[in-house]
């Protein structure tokens, strides 16, 4: 390079360069979030930054950000800190998950503790909700937020707030909504996960509660930490508000991607078909070693699910709550299905209030998003007794009846062993329009067991007998002989009795058979589900 040429191209101080340079400086500043110190703190808490999380959520290089240059604005004459509030504490935009567009609202705890300010909520998050619904694409919330920014929200202009939940309700059953719990989610904002379709929670770092610890102390005097009150040990084990407890942010976001892989982008599409390589006509080996023929013996139904559906495709939801019913997604010949299975290992598989509630919500999610349902039945019935009546089991059980009855997606029922009482109904018995309903050879379909039936029907006869014990035993055997799947099959009330090894093929054929299913029902504004 000669002296004169270097001289000739020296940078000119022009307006263009200065203006573009300012843009890049602004971008750089806001991409740096709350600064190095806050980011260190975030990492020390075992959490990733909002931008690291987004990097994990989306396919590489697909994230498009809207509102990077936003910042806090003075509200009602208050102070504002435009320099200290990059992106106003929430990163918004869209990217691809396995090549499909997904929208994100991700709170940045390094900026004013991820608190929800006027700009972030009323302009940024609201825009994501508007566009995602307009384009019919899923929304993922990455929640790590102290809640409403009180300095902007206190006072009676609160009157104009809160429509985000109304938006969520409008989106419900139209686009999938995921609320990933990666930090605190205090106060009213806990209704974001409350209304979402899927809520994974990171152990230790995440929590949600309608009132944070300080508010609780002021309101009721109770001394409790946010974690004690609303950590995953509460919501994934006791309350059922959370779905799956995960170890850290990385696992959480991987699980969000996995969840979305089973769902369509919206209710107007079919779920994606995946090539799993597992032959649809594969005979299911090993069921004889999993399921005892003795109907009183327990076993882990998840082993049946894993054996029947495509290898590695089982994704259980709410695995640590209401464990007497198992729900989750799997693939059947590459097709997404929702599995509802009784779990004899827990409470004998008897249904109770929480189990009915868990199943009902899952069934409705599948029905909303065109995901066929497969019921694997082995149910001794609904729990009976004074305890469950006080809980309102009739009301909760009715939710499951309602959901199963209402679902118009393809529905396949396999009666493995027990099918007793209303348990048979809610597990998609004959009356609930199964597209295929089959039983294994040792299935027991009956309103109740033979012992209970004899007590009710033949009580007087037994009491009057010379040898009541022998008479009772004889009557029990008479009734027991009536409990056989061949009686139901002989009446064509069920479609077939199958060898358990045929279960996979029968399920896949049953779903295929119902591909063009169309059910017309009388017009109504909406039903009145016993919530």
């Amino acid at each position: 390079m000669t002296f004169w040429s270097a001289n000739r191209i020296r940078p000119v101080e022009n307006e263009y360069g200065k203006l573009v340079g300012e843009l890049h400086a602004r971008r750089k500043k806001n991409l740096a979030m709350g600064g190095a110190e806050k980011i260190d703190k975030q990492h020390q808490r075992g959490k990733l930054t909002v931008r690291e999380r987004i990097g994990l959520l989306f396919d590489q290089g697909t994230f498009v950000e809207l509102g990077l240059l936003a910042h806090q604005q003075p509200v009602r004459g208050g102070e504002s800190d435009p320099d200290g509030t990059p992106a106003d504490g929430v990163v918004t935009g869209h990217g691809d998950v396995d090549g499909r567009q997904v929208w994100v609202i991700a709170y940045d705890f390094t900026v004013m503790a991820g608190s929800m300010g006027a700009v972030g909520e009323q302009f940024k998050a609201a825009r994501v909700r508007e566009l995602a619904l307009c384009y019919r694409k899923p929304i993922v919330w990455l929640l790590d937020s102290a809640g409403a920014r009180i300095q902007e929200a206190a006072g009676s202009t609160f009157a104009g707030s809160g429509w985000l939940f109304a938006d969520q309700v409008v989106m419900s059953g139209v686009i999938p909504q995921v609320a990933a719990m990666l930090g605190p989610c205090a106060a009213g904002t806990a209704y974001i996960p409350g209304l979402a379709d899927f809520v994974p929670m990171v152990k230790e770092t995440s929590s949600m509660a309608l009132g944070g610890a300080r508010l609780v102390k002021a309101a009721t005097g109770e001394d409790v930490t946010d974690h004690e009150m609303g950590g995953s040990q509460v919501h994934c084990y006791e309350s059922g508000v959370g779905d799956n407890e995960v170890a850290d942010d990385v696992e959480c976001i991987a699980m969000v991607r996995r969840f979305l892989s089973y769902l369509p982008s919206s209710n107007t599409e079919q779920p994606p078909l995946v090539v799993t390589g597992d032959p649809p006509d594969r005979l299911v080996d090993g069921l004889d070693k999993i399921v005892p023929v003795n109907p009183r013996s327990a076993y882990d139904v998840r082993k049946v699910v894993k054996a029947v559906f495509d290898q590695e495709s089982w994704f259980e939801l709410k695995p640590t709550w209401a464990k007497n019913i198992v729900v989750g997604f799997a693939r059947a010949g590459g097709q997404s299905v929702g599995v509802v299975a009784n779990q004899p290992m827990q409470k004998g598989g008897a249904l109770d209030s929480d189990a009915a509630d868990k199943a009902a919500r899952f069934i409705r999610m599948c029905d909303a998003f065109n995901i066929p349902l497969v019921y694997l039945m082995d149910v001794p019935g609904f729990m009976v007794g004074s305890q469950v009546e006080k809980e309102g089991i009739i009301r909760h059980g009715a939710k499951m009846l309602y959901a199963t009855s209402e679902a118009t997606v393809p529905k396949v029922t396999v009666i493995m062993r027990k099918a007793y009482g209303a348990g048979y109904y809610v597990m998609n018995g004959k009356g609930y329009q199964p597209d295929t309903i089959v039983a294994w050879p040792f299935a027991e379909i009956s309103v109740m067991g033979p012992e209970g039936a004899v007590n009710i029907i033949f009580n007087k006869q037994v009491e009057a007998a010379e040898d009541p014990t022998a008479t009772r035993a004889q009557l029990i055997e008479t009734i027991r002989a009536q409990i056989t799947p061949y009686l139901a099959a002989g009446w064509a009330m069920i479609d077939d009795v199958i060898d358990p090894v045929e279960t996979r093929r029968v399920i896949i054929k049953g779903i295929e058979q119902a591909r063009d299913k169309k059910i017309d029902r009388p017009w109504r504004k909406h039903g009145n589900i016993p919530v």
């Binding site: 109907p295 009183r296 013996s297 327990a298 004899p344 290992m345 827990q346 409470k347 004998g348 598989g349 008897a350 109770d352 001794p380 019935g381 729990m383 009976v384 007794g385 305890q387 027990k418 007793y420 067991g449 012992e451």
Partner: protein
């Protein structure tokens, strides 16, 4: 000390452990009978059985303490 409680109302069908026994996590402590099912009650963690508070044939309530581990 860990209290192992009945997860549902039922009767004690079989007691499969005794005071002083060393148990591993998931070991069967006793079997309840309820809703026509034999429902195993397993140890939530490893430990020593300090107390067995129920007898075979006894009816137990949901939440009732069956076994205490140490």
């Amino acid at each position: 000390m860990t209290e192992v409680k009945a997860e549902l109302v039922g009767s004690v069908w079989k007691v499969k452990t005794q005071v002083g026994a060393q148990v591993a996590e998931e070991d069967e402590l006793l079997i309840l009978e309820s809703m026509k099912m034999e429902i195993p009650v397993t140890a939530p963690r490893a430990g020593t059985v300090k107390e067995v508070r129920v007898k075979e044939g006894e009816v137990v309530k949901e939440g009732q303490v069956l076994v205490v581990l140490e």
